[in-house]
């Protein structure tokens, strides 16, 4: 595959609803190729991301605004979405809300706004990860692979419940209840809680947690803290003084039976 001779893309987003059926109109044998929807209003950035992703064997679908992203999502059924937060017509947060209502597909947000990260990763929007702008495209592609690997791993456990204090985790129904009340968690938060609950009273290092989340440690290090904070916000009465998910300073986290 000759990566150097790829010509400039036409980013058809603005004019025609933001997606093209196939790059170059080629229908290839890559039936199993993972498809990534890349949404950004900056064509020069999409071009770079498409170059890296296609170099890794991904099929790339492009969109440049909110409505185009939703239309492309419906038409192309991507396996993962790279989604810029600020888009013309309506923002990435609204795109995320709409596509989440359609299908559960991993979404990595691209954002220049660090003040939005908590909201983006949190329950309200529940993106799987975020990448702050400016970013290294190579690192971003590594994250794409990691997030895909994580989401494609089948859930092994069925028919089991874990209980820690008032927190009940039902892996079959993918439900969490705190004092009888259902709590909604993102897939990552759920998995994190499940791992912690499996080892009640035992400190899990950041490394172990990242490993069990099947993520890339270097890449996800800071994201882990965010996910822990968001998880606490969902299950703790006072997230600032957690009773269930406690920090073991300098080591990691552990889940404990509250006294």
């Amino acid at each position: 595959m000759n990566l150097l001779l790829r010509g400039p893309i036409e980013c058809g987003g603005r004019a025609e609803g933001g997606f093209r059926t196939k790059p170059n109109g080629v229908r290839t044998v890559e039936r199993s190729a993972r498809k990534v929807l890349v949404v950004d209003d900056e064509p020069a950035l999409i071009e770079v991301l498409a170059g890296y992703l296609e170099g890794e064997g991904f099929t790339v679908v492009r969109a440049a605004d909110g409505p185009g992203a939703v239309a492309a999502f419906e038409a192309e059924q991507p396996d993962l979405v790279l989604l810029d937060l600020s888009l013309p017509v309506f923002p990435g947060t609204e795109v995320l809300r709409r596509i989440r209502a359609l299908r559960d597909v991993p979404v990595i947000m691209l954002t220049a706004r660090t003040d939005e990260i908590d909201r983006v990763l949190g329950l309200e929007l529940g993106a799987d990860d975020y990448v702050g702008k400016p970013f290294s495209p190579r690192e971003l592609v590594a994250r794409v692979k990691t997030v895909l690997r994580r989401s494609e791993r089948p859930t092994v456990s069925t028919g089991r419940q874990r209980r820690v204090g008032d927190v009940v985790i039902d892996a079959t129904a993918h439900e969490v209840r705190v004092a009888g009340k259902p709590v909604t968690l993102t897939p990552t938060q759920f998995k994190l809680l499940d791992i912690l609950a499996e080892h009640v009273g035992q400190t899990l290092t950041r490394e172990q947690l990242l490993d069990r989340l099947s993520t890339d440690a270097d890449v996800f290090d800071r994201t882990l803290d965010r996910h822990i904070a968001n998880l606490r916000a969902r299950i703790e009465r006072d997230p600032a003084n957690p009773r269930y998910v406690v920090t073991v300073f300098g080591v990691g986290y552990k889940m404990v039976e509250p006294r």
Binding site: L3, L4, L5, R6, P8, E42, A44, L45, E47, V48, L49, G51, Y52, G55, S86, A112, R113, T114, D115, G132, K133, P134, F135, S136, P137, R138
Partner: protein, 64 residues
């Protein structure tokens, strides 16, 4: 966070991503693409004075 800071980061993102792509042999550094990078850097640069103003407003020393 200020919209301008956000804009600066967006312009830098374009520049950084393109230069990395040149380095990694993903895209060819054509004159057009180099122009895109230069324009992005110039746009970021043009926003810097406004950022400075915003910063300083919060830290004005008391009048003597």
């Amino acid at each position: 966070m200020s919209q301008r800071l956000h804009d600066v980061r967006n312009h830098l993102a374009v520049a950084v991503a393109n230069v990395e792509a040149f380095r990694d042999g993903i895209l060819e550094p054509t004159p057009e693409r180099l122009e895109v990078v230069l324009r992005a850097l110039a746009q970021a640069d043009a926003l810097l004075p406004q950022l400075g103003e915003t910063e300083n407003r919060g830290h004005t020393p008391a009048a003597p």
